[in-house]
């Protein structure tokens, strides 16, 4: 056993710096509010560097409660990079509206600390604590900005659903503990194999935990909060809620279903399949009827979660990891553009708010086009390659009918994605307005958007990393 805390450096650094920023912010006058932002960015950069430095090692700390392996490094680094991009995109939005800027960064940092702990969980206890540290700042964040009348309603729904999900997860954990007497993820497979056949208590526990995971991902039938939260809160908050927590949720799913129950896939496969099929169906069909762009992207998220779950069902966790990273990259760009577009008192809410974007700002329209095509899965974007990997995993697992089903669903998805493109390019703008993007944001957003296509054309590197994880 290794007692050095080196492997926890990203978390320790993040926790310390977040507390420092929290206190420092109290003493800053409004003129120097930018310092909070810069410090948060520096913190994320260093946390990412510390995380990458752990790449080659496998650490087990704190009596097995904390694990740092390749999976943890990749997911943590992605979370920090995503966080860095989010902060850059939202800075001008928050400053222009004179919204309490610092709280946003501090809550987001705390939430990212939770994600980091969740990803590195070595036991069910750390898993639970990480999950709660992830969720609690998010509830506060959704309720934080009261510009929109709907924010508090969205926050309430999110909170009740999230708390119910953690309750279910905990109940499942308690049953698993009761039937095996273990809470360590690595000790559990042994305990399970010792019993000749899995007993009912254990099975029931797995069902509850999978339900909890489904809630956090927003898979049907536990999706109710996603559209409401996406529509009800402001774009910068949706930008955060939609991207980074999904990566962490994949970490949780992978820790639980691969590390712990990988040896007994029959215990969870059928539930994952049901959730995958329902998510694909409902997510893609309900999205057709939407007029609110954020709600539309919410339903499309549900559809993407269906794809991730299909990969998990096929037993191909590497494909799932690739899909979740691709999804995070695309959603980051999509909501990033919505955040950048919401300026001078205008909030992008409905699809029609994007009308004639091509005439107002050509490059933004092109970027939105690229991202939407990538979300729809047009080759050779990353969205296409991610779907391709999942579908070929399904064919390899001899469930070709599921691959066909997934294909039909992405064809339906193309319809509502293309409608957004049509509105951007062929509809007349309702009002003339000037859009200015700060230089730094523009560069980062462009890199982000182009990455969704470059990584689609050259997916080898990212895919190789994902394959190393399992």
């Amino acid at each position: 056993m290794d007692f050095s805390l080196k492997a926890m450096l990203p978390e320790i650094f993040l926790a310390t710096m977040t507390c420092v920023i929290l206190v420092l912010d109290l003493y800053l006058s409004d003129r120097f509010r930018r310092v909070t932002y810069l410090l948060s960015q520096v913190t994320l950069v260093f946390a990412a560097v510390f995380a990458i430095a752990l790449w080659d090692n496998h650490f087990v700390l704190m009596g097995g409660h904390f694990v740092s392996d390749k999976l943890a490094v990749v997911l943590k680094t992605s979370v920090f990079i995503v966080g860095f991009c989010i902060f850059t995109y939202v800075y001008d939005y928050l400053r222009e509206r004179d919204i309490r800027i610092s709280e946003y960064y501090i809550l987001a940092l705390f939430s990212m600390l939770g994600m980091s702990i969740l990803i590195s969980a070595g036991s069910l206890l750390t898993l639970y604590l990480g999950l709660e540290l992830l969720s609690l700042p998010l509830y506060a964040m959704v309720a934080m900005i009261q510009r929109q009348n709907t924010a508090s309603e969205a926050a309430m729904k999110y909170f009740v659903m999230g708390a119910l999900a953690s309750g279910m997860l905990l109940f499942g954990i308690s049953l698993i503990y009761g039937s095996t007497g273990q809470i360590h993820l690595d000790a559990l497979p042994v305990a399970i194999n010792m019993a000749e056949q899995p007993d009912m208590l254990l099975l029931l526990g797995v069902v509850f935990v999978v339900i909890g995971i489904g809630f956090k991902f927003g898979a049907v039938p536990f999706h109710m909060w996603i559209p409401d939260v996406y529509q009800g809160s402001l774009s910068p908050i949706v930008l955060f809620v939609a991207t980074a927590p999904k990566i962490a949720a994949f970490g949780m799913l992978s820790r639980f279903l691969w590390d712990m129950f990988g040896a007994a896939p029959e215990t969870w496969q059928s539930f994952i399949l049901i959730m995958a099929v329902l998510s694909l169906l409902l997510g893609n069909i309900a999205a057709i009827a939407q007029t609110n762009i954020k709600r539309l992207l919410g339903y499309s998220t549900i559809g993407h979660v269906g794809f991730i779950f299909l990969a998990i069902y096929a037993g191909n966790f590497a494909a799932g990891a690739f899909y979740v990273l691709a999804y995070a990259l695309m959603t980051l760009a999509a909501f990033g553009i919505l955040v950048v577009l919401s300026q001078r008192g205008i909030e992008i809410e409905d699809i029609t708010d994007l009308a004639g974007l091509d005439k107002q700002h050509r490059w933004l329209a092109v970027m939105m086009l690229l991202v939407i095509f990538s979300l729809a899965g047009v080759p050779p974007s990353i969205g296409f390659y991610a779907k391709f990997v999942v579908l070929s995993a399904l064919v390899d697992a001899h469930v070709a009918y599921l691959a066909v089903f997934g294909l039909v669903m992405s064809a339906i998805a193309a319809f509502y994605y293309l409608r957004v493109v049509k509105v951007m390019y062929f509809d007349e703008p309702t009002q003339t307005r000037e859009i200015t993007i700060p230089h730094g944001t523009n560069v980062l957003l462009s890199i982000n958007t182009l990455a969704t296509w470059v990584l689609g054309i050259l997916p080898g590197g990212l895919m190789a990393i994902c394959l190393l994880l399992y």
Binding site: N149, E153, M156, M168, S174, G181, G232
Partner: protein
């Protein structure tokens, strides 16, 4: 002496009441918060009972963490409730219907 099954039935009932309360309740948001607490208490009962019958302390330690987190969770829930009441002048669940589609 009570057997482990008695404890499980008790906690199962409590969990059921909590979940059904969230599903059925149409009147008051505070009742939702109470139901969430009830679910967590059911979990705690489970952990302590298992811990006792497995002759370990792991479950009991777990309960301390759950209690702490539950307190933080309740604090955030009540804070959101206050914000909601200020904005809407109501905490009726049925009137939380601006977001749908």
């Amino acid at each position: 002496m009570l057997s482990i099954v008695d404890y499980l039935i008790f906690s199962g009932l409590m969990f059921g009441i909590g979940t059904m309360g969230i599903a059925i309740n149409r009147k008051n948001v505070i009742v939702l918060l109470m139901c969430i607490e009830l679910i967590l208490l059911a979990v705690n009962t489970n952990f302590v009972a298992f811990s006792r019958f497995l002759d370990q302390t792991t479950g009991e330690i777990f309960v301390f963490f759950i209690l702490t987190v539950a307190a933080a969770e309740a604090a955030i829930g009540l804070a959101i409730l206050v914000v909601l009441y200020r904005q809407r002048n109501t905490i009726n669940v049925e009137e939380l219907d601006e977001l749908k589609g």
